[in-house]
């Protein structure tokens, strides 16, 4: 593959992926309003377009044209940088996520992934661990007590749950023997027994790790029942209280694209990535894996919303006790057992 061809393909992939990601972010917001609305016995958005489908566009225009208010006494450089940091780190992590097999175009094998690095999983974890700066700095620089408390809560919570999250993934890494996300998906190909697929949620008993990962990831993305950084009953809106217009929208975008990253990782690591029945002509064979992958992400996003509509918020000491005294020991136990089983085999 010549260097020009490589660059052209990469640019096309990057533009496509970011477009799809941002569209998905907008429509996840729509989905959330719609589903939570139905769960609370009301309609959700219905006015703009059929089923309210144009609501995200209307919201986007509204955010762009609203007055961008900067309160006095904020620390301006960080106040402006914080939402940017949040959204940059949230979007960057999609760069190493594979979303399908390789396809052959004009005689070139093109992997459906922006770039495949052999430390893919670590890159995602590293970038998402930097995401806390956006939240923490916005809380501090706003110079408001609600924001500061929100920022403090967010950083304490994210540092605490990151440990359980990281440990829950080590079992998968032991079984797959690689950090490459594509390699991890390939390690889950095939099936055992008559029909059970080789997904790590079934094979190697990583189902415990799967639930630890999901719980910790909900805390990492500041979603209900772990949304204490923006608990509106006590902190107005937490770390983004003082933000308006597009800066506020950037925090929103960061939160939802983090949710999508979590869904991607959960499908790649535990549910076999894009595996699924593939049939038909060539074009269908190229598209179907991407469809199966997108379906998994949709299911995860739906569960996110479902949990939001169902569970009440933790109290802060419960949150910390749950993370340190329950999730962490269970994650360590799961890791030790997995390592023993693999070593004795």
């Amino acid at each position: 593959m010549s260097i020009t061809f490589f660059i052209i393909v990469s640019v096309i992939k990057i533009v496509l992926v970011i477009f799809v990601l941002l569209t998905a972010v907008a429509y996840t917001v729509w989905l959330e309003r719609k589903v939570v609305g139905r769960m609370q016995n009301r309609w959700g958005p219905t006015r703009v377009g059929p089923f309210g489908l144009l609501q995200p566009a209307a919201d986007g225009i509204k955010f762009l044209f609203k007055e961008d208010l900067t309160p006095p006494h904020v620390y301006k450089p960080l106040y402006i940088a914080a939402p940017m940091l949040a959204v940059i780190f949230a979007i960057t992590s999609i760069a190493v996520i594979p979303f399908g097999n390789t396809v052959t175009i004009l005689g070139h094998e093109i992997p459906l992934q922006i770039t495949d690095v052999n430390i893919g999983l670590l890159v995602v974890l590293g970038i998402t661990s930097l995401g806390v700066y956006g939240v923490a700095l916005s809380g501090w620089s706003s110079n408001s007590k609600y924001s500061l408390l929100g920022g403090l809560r967010a950083s304490a919570q994210m540092v605490s749950y990151e440990i359980a999250l990281g440990l829950s993934l080590v079992g998968v890494l032991i079984l797959a023997g690689t950090f490459s996300l594509r390699g991890i998906v390939e390690a889950q190909a095939g099936h055992f027994g008559p029909w059970i697929p080789n997904w790590f949620i079934f094979k190697g008993g990583q189902i415990v790790a799967f639930f630890i990962y999901l719980t910790a990831a909900y805390a990492e993305t500041n979603r209900i029942p772990f949304d204490l950084p923006e608990a509106e009953t006590e902190l107005v809106a937490g770390y983004h209280t003082e933000y308006s217009a597009m800066k506020f929208a950037m925090f929103f975008m960061a939160e939802y694209s983090n949710m999508i990253t979590v869904a991607c990782l959960a499908s790649l690591l535990f549910l076999g990535g894009w595996s699924g029945p593939v049939f038909g002509p060539d074009i269908l064979q190229a598209i179907l894996p991407v469809f199966w992958f997108a379906l998994r992400i949709f299911v995860f996003l739906f569960i996110y919303i479902w949990v939001r509509g169902t569970l009440p918020r933790f109290r802060y000491d419960q949150l910390m006790a749950f993370g340190w005294k329950f999730l962490l020991p269970v994650a360590i136990a799961n890791l030790v057992i997995t390592a023993l089983v693999v070593a004795l085999k």
């Binding site: 430390i119 930097l130 923490a136 700095l137």
Partner: protein
């Protein structure tokens, strides 16, 4: 060629971050400069082909340790520091000392590295190679370090736990 350019650029960013860390008056700006230093060091590792070390550098230093620094600064609500011009002795001894140290380090590096460039992939950078080194050749130092860290954690817990809080929790249970 491109590698060399990138390496120099990130080296400069790293040094600029370190200088900024000292010059800034507000602790949070200093902490963020340190994050920049850590991140550009990670890029340098990446350019040397040590991708695992680079990822760990970001996760551990930029993503965990510096977050705690920022957390503490936010929690204490530390204000701006007052700058003094420093003592005369520090100026007289510090600058020659700094220069001597820098020259010594440069000399040692140039003398013993052979002055040649390192090609990418010449050093063990793949996670598997690092695991091989860590869990075979250097297993004992690795385990000893982990015990040292454990002792440090326990020490911190002992120092931080207030006696009355411990007694209260005993009474409750």
């Amino acid at each position: 060629m491109l590698h060399l350019v990138l390496f120099s650029v990130f080296g400069l960013i790293c040094v600029a971050g370190a200088v900024n860390l000292l010059v800034q008056k507000h602790p949070i700006n200093s902490a963020l400069s340190l994050v920049v230093v850590m991140a550009s060091l990670a890029v340098e590792y990446l350019l040397l082909g040590a991708e695992f070390v680079a990822a760990v550098q970001v996760i551990v230093y930029a993503g965990a340790i510096m977050v705690l620094f920022v957390f503490v600064i936010m929690l204490l609500n530390a204000g701006e520091e007052e700058h003094t011009s420093g003592s005369t002795v520090a100026w007289l001894l510090g600058i020659p000392g700094l220069l001597t140290g820098a020259v010594l380090i440069c000399w040692a590096v140039l003398r013993y590295s052979g002055g040649g460039g390192v090609t990418i992939g010449a050093l063990p950078g793949h996670p598997k190679d690092i695991a091989q080194l860590l869990f075979h050749e250097f297993l004992l130092p690795f385990e000893v370090t982990s015990i040292l860290v454990l002792i440090a954690i326990m020490g911190a817990v002992v120092l931080a736990a207030r006696p009355e809080a411990v007694q209260e929790s005993k009474r409750e249970s």
